[in-house]
């Protein structure tokens, strides 16, 4: 297990982490301008509306960039390279995450590859991570 730091949810982000604990990827959408956004906030960053709502998304997207970190920082296991990636969801929001289920090798990680969410336990919580479609 690669391991790593455990997030400390705050009142504005708790719905995201509570959903992840139940294997749901919840993001916010503005009722006024209909746009999704990430990271969690009380006001829509696009139109400033406070009429925002949470809803579950399918967790499908594409790999837009990544590094293979050969020097993970404790509490992550320094001997297991991490794939630290940026994923863009179909809803248009971008998240930083880890890619799991693929070898930590550039040839196995083509940019724009389709990815799907998976949930990995971490402390009292679960972290949304992503898997290349077709990976084991």
């Amino acid at each position: 297990m690669a391991g790593g730091a455990t997030p400390t949810p705050t009142p504005d982000t708790a719905p995201f982490w509570e959903a992840a604990k139940e294997d749901r990827l919840a993001i916010q959408q503005c009722r006024s301008c209909d746009r999704h956004y990430f990271y969690p906030r009380d006001y829509c960053p696009h139109c400033s509306s406070s009429e925002v709502t949470w809803h579950d998304v399918a967790g499908n997207g594409r790999l837009v960039s990544y590094i293979i970190n050969y020097r993970p920082f404790p509490p992550a296991n320094p001997d297991i390279p991490q794939i630290i990636a940026l994923v863009e969801l179909d809803e248009g929001v971008r998240m930083l995450t880890n890619i799991v289920g693929s070898p930590a090798e550039p040839d196995a990680l083509p940019l724009d590859a389709p990815v799907s969410v998976t949930f990995e336990p971490r402390g009292d919580w679960k972290l949304p991570m992503f898997r290349l479609d077709g990976a084991r």
């Binding site: 790593g4 960039s65 590094i67 293979i68 970190n69 020097r71 630290i84 940026l86 998240m95 971490r122």
Partner: protein, 395 residues
């Protein structure tokens, strides 16, 4: 000197405000015998000596890292103006801009800006060593291992290269070009000649696509600047070496990497540099020398394109052509940069120091005839930007 200014508000740009003292710590590199505060204090005294001034002449103080009163009290300064703007490594460049505004408005007469950081030896640095897990970064980056600069700042680079049909070789060529400058500079931390092949294949991997030599050095050191109005430079022993601020800009974007507006072009670079050119009334062809904050090898590529010195996709070819190397048309990062000269954790002060040395004709690798220098900084990874245009001539 009186404590209050009676002059009316004037422009902060156009050469109305000048740098009259500039210095780094006597040594940079590995300095386990000095604390962070000692680095601040030595840099400050070196810059004051360069200006021919003493702490008693200073009525404004700006710093980042320590609070302003930690530095002012340590030095025996009683400021009537302070600035603790902290946006990461380019903070000291924003301090220059803010100091210029304060001096132009009469809120301060003579401002000292200090940087010191025991980035390598970590002496007197415990405040900065904790892992925060409840901020945006702490919740949405740190748990994924995206914490240290090499695991954060680097993440968008593959997208930049991919979108332009560029490759890791373009990152390696940045290292090679800047190493040529470092080889001319006895104070540079990395001075051995290096080839692109060695950067790619002999340098240890850190975070693909980055090898060690594509990542900045990690050092101890400091630097400081003294600024005052151009009118007052005539009264100072250092007045004939004054460097004038012609234009500036600053911009802020997202605190976390995933929220960059565009992964392969930094919007804050574009905004702040455009404002610097506009306020200076200069065009790209007017710039003789460029310092571009290079914590990692992709940054000079972003900077060349986002500032408009080259078109989109041309940055790699421009650097490989030798244009930024000694003898090239746009000498860039002429101290060797963060990649080879020094990088304490916040490099912005050192980028400015090299620009000022070049404009004064005092650089280790002096470029002939430099009249204007553009300094481009970045902060908190791709979160903040500062752009400054200096000249050794008042328009």
């Amino acid at each position: 000197m009186t404590a209050t200014s009676t002059h009316g508000v004037t422009s902060m740009h156009g050469g109305n405000v000048a740098v009259v003292g500039a210095a780094e710590t006597t040594e940079i590199g590995v300095l386990p015998e000095m604390s962070t505060m000692q680095l601040h204090a030595q840099a400050a005294h070196n810059a004051l000596a360069d200006a021919g001034l003493s702490p008693a002449d200073i009525d404004g103080l700006a710093t980042g890292g320590p609070l302003p009163m930690e530095v002012s009290h340590y030095l025996g300064i009683t400021p009537r103006w302070v600035d603790s703007t902290m946006v990461g490594g380019c903070s000291f460049m924003l301090h220059v801009r803010h100091a210029a505004a304060a001096i132009a408005a009469g809120a301060a007469t003579t401002v000292l800006i200090t940087h010191g950081e025991s980035g390598r030896s970590r002496i007197g640095m415990s405040r900065y060593s904790g892992m925060v897990t409840d901020t945006a970064s702490g919740q949405f980056e740190v748990p994924y291992g995206s914490l240290l600069p090499y695991a954060t700042f680097t993440v968008p680079a593959l997208r930049f290269l991919h979108d332009r049909g560029m490759s890791r070789t373009d990152l390696a060529e940045v290292v090679v070009a800047q190493r040529e400058w470092a080889m001319l500079n006895p104070r540079a931390f990395r001075r051995k000649p290096i080839t692109a092949d060695e950067v790619l294949n002999s340098s240890p991997p850190v975070a693909y696509p980055f090898t060690r030599d594509m990542c900045c050095v990690v050092t101890d050191g400091g630097g400081a600047l003294v600024m005052t109005s151009a009118q007052r430079t005539a009264d100072l022993a250092s007045g004939d070496r004054a460097v004038y601020l012609l234009g500036s800009g600053e911009a802020a974007e997202s605190p976390i990497m995933s929220q960059m507006t565009d992964l392969s072009s930094f919007a804050a670079f574009r905004r702040s540099s455009a404002e610097a050119f506009a306020t200076a009334g200069l065009e790209h062809d007017d710039i003789d020398h460029l310092m571009g904050y290079d914590a990692f090898a992709h940054l000079p590529l972003y900077i060349l394109e986002d500032l408009g010195f080259v078109a989109r996709g041309e940055s790699g070819g421009f650097i490989a052509s030798g244009a930024t190397r000694p003898g090239g048309s746009l000498p860039m990062n002429t101290n060797g940069g963060g990649l080879s000269y020094t990088h304490t954790g916040m490099y912005g002060m050192f980028a400015m120091q090299e620009a000022i040395r070049q404009l004064r004709g005092e650089a280790a690798a002096q470029v002939p005839g430099v009249r204007t220098s553009f300094v481009q900084g970045v902060g908190m990874y791709f979160a903040a930007s500062s752009s400054l245009i200096f000249s050794n001539q008042r328009p």
